[in-house]
């Protein structure tokens, strides 16, 4: 017992300063892609040709855009680009309330809108979620688990994963939704009492990710839960725990536009 207490004293506070301060990421962290089509060579589409998931639209043209719902945040596009017209930036804020808004261009921060005031009142200061892994590779699942550990401590915001859908305010879907999980996903959603939210986490749950087009997956939560609106999309492969929490806190209206913003770029 003495040893445990001694260890505890030496261990100090582990919880990150975010969102009261800027989050700290490694220098090579890959956040939202930043586009500058003015630098594109004539007719060059090297980035789109290298992209594993066809996430880049109109490569080489002024309307060039990246679909974050498909993006794996891999280094392939930036490595293929000869002119620095596309690079992976440092902004961790990626979540959106609308699927269309995930198609980004230029260098604009993506900030998810809050739920309606009535629903927020119903939720109060807590958000209990039931997670359903539907073909998830355990990457997103690992980061969702990490969001609850003492570093990121989702519990301090009243956010918690619960064991039963009956106790939940919504579901968090990961994975491209394999054919073999489609029924279990639907049943879990049905078991959550309304009003309920649906949150799609990771490229797979948004678009099928690297498995898009495979005949044994349904290319994400929206097609699988046909007719059920998705309330929040959180891109990534997998999204960092802070990206996940940023999305949820904005959904709950707890973060202002400047709160939890990334630090000024390092030189």
């Amino acid at each position: 017992m003495i040893d445990i207490l001694k260890f505890r004293l030496g261990y100090g506070r582990q919880t990150v300063a975010w969102p009261d301060g800027p989050p700290r990421f490694p220098a090579r962290f890959r956040g939202r892609p930043v586009l500058d089509p003015a630098r594109c060579g004539d007719g060059c589409a090297a980035c789109a040709d290298a992209c594993p998931t066809e996430a880049i639209r109109d490569a080489g043209r002024p309307s060039m855009a990246v679909d974050l719902g498909r993006c794996l945040f891999c280094p392939d596009c930036a490595a293929a680009c000869p002119s620095g017209a596309i690079r992976l930036g440092h902004d961790h804020r990626l979540a959106s309330r609308s699927r269309e808004a995930l198609v980004v261009s230029g260098d604009q921060p993506l900030l998810a809108d809050a739920l309606g005031a009535e629903l927020r009142r119903t939720l109060g200061r807590s958000l209990k979620l039931r997670q359903v892994s539907a073909g998830g590779c355990n990457g997103c699942e690992a980061e969702l688990n990490a969001s609850g550990n003492i570093q990121f401590d989702a519990g301090r915001f009243g956010i918690q994963f619960v064991a039963s859908p009956r106790h939940a305010d919504g579901i968090v879907v990961t994975g491209p939704v394999s054919e073999n999980m489609a029924l279990a996903l639907r049943k879990t959603w049905e078991a959550v009492p309304p009003p309920r939210v649906v949150i799609a986490v990771g490229a797979c749950a948004i678009s099928g990710g690297p498995f898009r087009g495979s005949p044994v997956v349904q290319d994400g939560a929206a097609p699988a839960l046909n007719g059920v609106p998705v309330d929040l999309w959180i891109p990534g492969c997998p999204p960092h725990p802070i990206t996940f929490l940023d999305g949820l806190l904005r959904l709950l209206g707890r973060l202002g536009p400047r709160d939890g913003a990334p630090a000024a770029p390092r030189t």
């Binding site: 490694p26 590779c137 498995f211």
Partner: protein, 514 residues
């Protein structure tokens, strides 16, 4: 472009090869099924292992290929047999083949006659027009678990069904317990919920999506599977990555191992209510994930590996700093895990729980820490050394009690050795560059690549067609062997020990289901 050297050494009816050596596909002996069976069973009886067994359609029929491993000699053997609608099962005499033969039956409609447990494995669509091997009316419409479960009958016997959606943030699978009171007579594990068609996406490649698919076979083993994939391509192209790339790959693979082991030591602590270690190790795991991110930007090592080398390099100062950081993180993690392993109350819960004897582990062909905890001295890094491990050895850790404590101790000691290796590499990285894209793949060639992932032996088998495209791609995650080990660990145990046993193995659902 020069054609890479392709080996074809015959030893009796087996083509001899080693880890990561490209062979001429046509040189793999095709023997009658009776001879095939005798060969494979003979190797297993003599202490060899079945690293993979898979089938593919050829000229309307099915060809089975076995990858046999001779660990002490560091050799692999390949042998094939052509089969019709059925053949005498290997599993009736060699339990290590049970999952492989169910997979073949499901994919190709070939019945292994006399298989003691012939049930669908992952409920995937059949790859060839043939009657369903399990006699199902509408195989495409069935979902995992739609079959008669093994059931125990009698007074006070009861059944407990868990999953596919579990209480925590965990991948889906179904567990069916046959219990008498608290005592588990039998546990049947049904998987397949995670099937995403990964092998099919890799066939026809290499393509721009291939590495991302390989990284996603099991997201907690992104480096392990991606390494097996790129190693296969390099062998088929006759390319050897530079030493610096090999060292950085080793660093990434070991960081993945340590991150998972440290996280699981915390999770084991959580499952016995020993909260200090649970919360410290949960956070300390992040130190090793973040070390991967320092190297390549991803906490899971995604984007690091490319065919021919690695994409990211470290400056001398960065490498030294990262090495020092890994050592310092392990100092803290060691202290946190030691609190657990030295607490008599926690040890008492671990000792004698979920025991897998050495005999059972050998018969089932267990791999990785689960095998080593039952006294089986096997580790691909030493037995079939590849990449940097050919030059720098990581000592193998074993235990002999086969229980949760043994699995915890093996993982703890493996961290110690991995950290020593990782920091050592970072302090003395070889000079030079980190790789160049390999040329085209040799046509009509085949390669077996083995990697010791944190759960054990990963095996990928890649074979090209006449045009040098991947015609066959077989993936075997270590969990493929080890799920049956978990079922046996529970036999005659307490059902309330299931979470603890499960965590001590921490197997991959996605890696099994592909």
């Amino acid at each position: 472009m020069e054609t890479p050297a392709i080996s074809s050494r015959r030893a009796g009816d087996v083509l001899e090869t080693w880890n990561g050596e490209a062979v001429d596909r046509a040189a793999i002996p095709v023997v009658p099924i009776a001879r095939f069976r005798a060969l494979v069973l003979g190797v297993l009886r003599a202490g060899g292992r079945l690293s993979a067994l898979f089938g593919r359609e050829e000229d309307g029929g099915v060809v089975l290929t076995a990858v046999l491993a001779d660990d002490p000699e560091g050799r692999l053997g390949l042998v094939s047999a052509r089969v019709g609608a059925s053949y005498p099962a290997l599993s009736s005499e060699a339990p290590a083949a049970q999952a492989f033969e169910r997979e073949i039956a499901e994919q190709l409609g070939v019945v292994p006659e006399g298989h003691p447990w012939l049930k669908p494995l992952r409920f995937e669509p059949q790859r060839r027009a043939a009657p369903d091997a399990f006699g199902r009316k509408d195989p495409r419409a069935t979902i995992p678990g739609e079959y008669p479960f093994f059931a125990v009958e009698g007074e006070e016997v009861h059944e407990v069904a868990v999953g596919p959606v579990h209480a925590g943030v965990i991948e889906p699978g179904h567990f069916r317990f046959q219990c008498h009171g608290e005592r588990v007579f039998h546990l049947e594990i049904v998987l397949g919920y995670q099937h995403r068609g990964a092998e099919a996406l890799l066939r026809g490649g290499p393509g721009r999506r291939s590495v991302a698919v390989a990284e996603s076979i099991a997201g907690d083993t992104a480096v392990g599977h991606a390494l097996a994939y790129v190693k296969g391509l390099e062998s088929l192209a006759g390319a050897t990555p530079p030493a610096r790339a090999l060292a950085l790959r080793g660093v990434a693979l070991e960081l993945e191992r340590v991150a998972n082991h440290v996280g699981d030591l915390g999770a084991l602590a959580n499952d016995v209510g020993f909260l200090p270690t649970a919360s410290y190790c949960g956070a300390l795991r992040a130190d090793f994930l973040n070390a991967s991110a320092e190297l390549c930007g991803s906490r899971f090592g995604r984007g690091l590996l490319v065919p021919g080398g690695v994409r990211f390099d470290l400056g001398a100062e960065e490498a030294r700093a990262l090495g020092a950081r890994v050592r310092a993180s392990w100092e803290k993690a060691r202290a946190a895990a030691s609190l657990l392993l030295e607490a008599p109350s926690a040890r008492a819960r671990f000792e004698g729980t979920g025991t897998v004897t050495r005999e059972v582990a050998a018969e089932l062909g267990l791999v990785g820490p689960a095998a080593r905890a039952s006294g089986l001295d096997r580790d691909v890094r030493r037995d079939h050394a590849f990449g940097i491990y050919r030059f720098v050895h990581v000592p193998v850790t074993t235990a002999d009690s086969g229980d949760v404590l043994a699995r915890a101790l093996v993982r703890f000691l493996e961290c110690e050795r991995s950290v020593e290796f990782t920091a050592g590499q970072l302090e003395h990285l070889p000079g030079g560059d980190v790789g160049a894209a390999p040329g085209p793949l040799a046509p009509d060639a085949l390669v077996v690549t083995l990697v010791e992932g944190w759960r054990g032996e990963i095996a990928h088998v890649a074979a090209t067609d006449a045009a040098g495209r991947l015609a066959t791609y077989k993936v075997k995650d270590p969990s493929f062997h080890n799920w049956m080990g978990l079922a046996m660990a529970l036999r005659d145990g307490q059902i309330s020990d299931f979470p603890l046993c499960n965590k001590s193995f921490n197997l991959s659902y996605a890696g099994h289901d592909l």
